[in-house]
Symmetry: C2
Subunit: 405 residues, 2 copies
């Protein structure tokens, strides 16, 4: 008699499908020939290795009794204090360190939010397109997503208003609105000040929670873009702010943070306790020191120029090579260009294998970014990892694929 352990899995886990991003990374990692525009992966050439090695040595040698020990679920107090200061300087809101929860990357923040609020069948509002892994986390918890289209001014809040009215008339209250207001993933757009205010007014009118995901605001290349965070405009304490160390320092350190409405902090902290007790103490000490010594500020400043050059390389290559039946975003910041290919039968997902094998170029198919499952003809292209020259070559290959397939 064979085992039938698979039958023991819960229905949600039985239904899980592999993320395209992750599967791609595996394929692409094996080859040096393939140019990858897939994951939003920082360029490792710029990791501040020497400085981080120095900091790691310091916090282990001088504070090892604490940095190697168990610590508070909410996070190491020194980090929460340093982070409150960092957020005030960079994002314009004052967070009480007692009201910050350190997470293991922003994926964990998304998962905690999903578990804390979503029951099967609950409505959740996101932008369309929105961040693939957020959509995945919300769906795993059982959410039914409602996508609100974006344009160059971010989420179309006048559509949001209609949707909220309609949902209410049908007896639904969404669990939250999830938005990446600044340098959106994958759209590269930033919400205008008026729309930010409109969104908050609607949240107030309908008594809603707003989840603000903010990984890319440090990399906004166009000076006139409004990078104000929703949290800074939030007078009613109904914005749950989240961000991550992954883009501003290094993803392998795997830290993120949540600044929730104060009334929710205790509940989210309790959930985090069941999830993993606390995020790695050592990493938190390293991050605190990296903020306090100014390393993070210096690093962000440097990276901003690096990524601006790469964005310019990608957009100008697309202008040169892409056929006229394509549309692509001109991102004001972030790591991505999003593109739609308006060619009969173009299916980015089914073409991916040949893209990788024949054209030696990788991207993320855009369908997973659309809460309603549309967008077969779209793809997300990340310019963060390859060099400007490689970006140019990759876009050339991609345009061949688009023209030939």
């Amino acid at each position: 008699m064979g085992n039938s352990l698979l039958e023991l899995l819960s229905p949600a886990v039985k239904r899980l499908r592999a993320s395209e991003i992750r599967e791609l990374l595996k394929l692409v990692r094996k080859s040096k020939e393939i140019i990858s525009f897939a994951g939003g992966i920082p360029d490792p050439k710029y990791f501040p290795k020497e400085e981080l090695a120095e900091i790691a040595t310091k916090v282990i040698t001088e504070q090892g009794e604490y940095s190697l020990q168990y610590s508070e679920t909410k996070g190491v107090p020194e980090l929460r204090e340093a982070l409150a200061d960092f957020l005030y300087r960079n994002r314009g809101f004052k967070a009480d360190p007692e009201n910050i929860i350190i997470t293991s990357g922003s994926q964990q923040a998304l998962d905690i939010v999903a578990r804390a609020f979503i029951c099967i069948g609950d409505k959740v509002i996101t932008e369309s397109p929105s961040y693939l892994a957020a959509i995945g986390a919300f769906k795993l918890a059982g959410a039914e997503l409602v996508g609100i289209k974006i344009d160059e001014n971010g989420m179309k809040t006048f559509i949001l208003e209609d949707v909220l009215r309609k949902l209410k008339s049908e007896g639904f209250k969404p669990k939250f609105i999830y938005t990446i207001p600044v340098a959106q993933n994958p759209g590269g757009v930033t919400m205008s000040r008026d729309r930010k205010k409109h969104l908050l007014e609607l949240a107030s009118q309908y008594d809603l929670l707003v989840i603000e995901d903010d990984p890319y605001s440090y990399f906004v290349f166009d000076e006139k873009a409004d990078i104000t965070s929703l949290k800074a405009l939030d007078k009613e304490d109904r914005v749950l702010y989240m961000s991550t160390i992954s883009k501003i320092l290094a993803p392998g350190i795997r830290l993120g943070w949540i600044v929730p409405p104060e009334e929710l902090t205790r509940r989210l902290e309790l959930l985090k306790q069941y999830v993993d007790l606390h995020s790695p103490t050592l990493n938190q000490y390293i991050f605190a020191e990296a903020i306090k010594t100014g390393l993070v500020d210096r690093h962000v400043k440097k990276l901003k120029n690096v990524y601006k050059v790469k964005r310019d390389a990608m957009v100008s290559a697309m202008e040169e090579y892409f056929p006229e039946y394509t549309w692509y975003s001109r991102p004001i910041g972030g790591f991505f260009v999003f593109t739609y290919i308006y060619k009969q039968g173009f299916d980015a997902k089914s073409y991916l294998t040949v893209a990788i094998e024949k054209y030696k170029v990788a991207y993320v198919p855009g369908q997973g970014f659309h809460p309603d499952g549309t967008g077969e003809n779209s793809m997300r292209l990340s310019f963060s990892y390859p060099s400007p020259e490689t970006i140019r070559e990759g876009i050339k290959r991609l345009s061949q694929l688009i023209k030939e397939l």
Copy 2:
């Protein structure tokens, strides 16, 4: 109009209660006077700070492009390979590195197991008493726990046999049996070889999954105890093995691992991807290097003596000070002594405040370790953190509390 965001929380999260261990740690951390027998906290005096600082510098400086970058969900291959070798040498089973999933501590492993299998109302079998945080994770997922009493030979598998027969006759199939077979938490006992075999026979007969939690087997002080892991005896691949770095190196690095039955690996890996993408790459490189350089082996050898002296100090102090109406375990290994106080009206939970405030001694009330909610008159005492002298003084204080209250 005020916000009503709390109402948006899912029922499971609304029901969450704070863990006694964590709340205690907070109270006790503020004072140097209080002797804590609470958390299973390693003695930080012995953290191998110099060696770890050296390793951290090395993996950041020489391998920073990888150690600071995103990595595979299942874990860094170098670590999974080093760990497979480590487990073979120390725990006697051959794990395919492809079949190891690195987690963020064993708490995350417990949470992943709970989410992967448990639906509301599912039966789960544990030892009674069992590990408080495992009970918490299973209950959060909605499990109804069935506790099987332990004695000096571990779980009473003849009772398990009755329970399984009864459950089956009522139409129930438990999702899994959770056990800490070696140096049990909180009992300090180790399952005899016969009972291990009996457990696996029953698992085979009823086609069940067995979760083997193995944090303490490296610290078994009595040479004649059988420390064989269930996984090494498992011929049908139905044991999911899990363990942690927390006791053998340092908890602040926050890593654990799962070696599941092979048919489950892919599903658990997918779930982990939604949970936090992957555990910190940097920490995995550090741990891999600590295994490969022999640091972990050397450290475990040293710690085993340290903890043996502490266990002896606690047990001999209890023999001297504890009144005759108490029973306490003589742990063959691990970090804990478990004790029952047979005195009318003795309630360890409600006495805890006065224990801390008046007697300046802390423990974990035993009720949370009992799946059926009994054990009001019990407590778990950890000897891992305080010095032998402090242990003696703390047991003296505790015996005063027991006699006076």
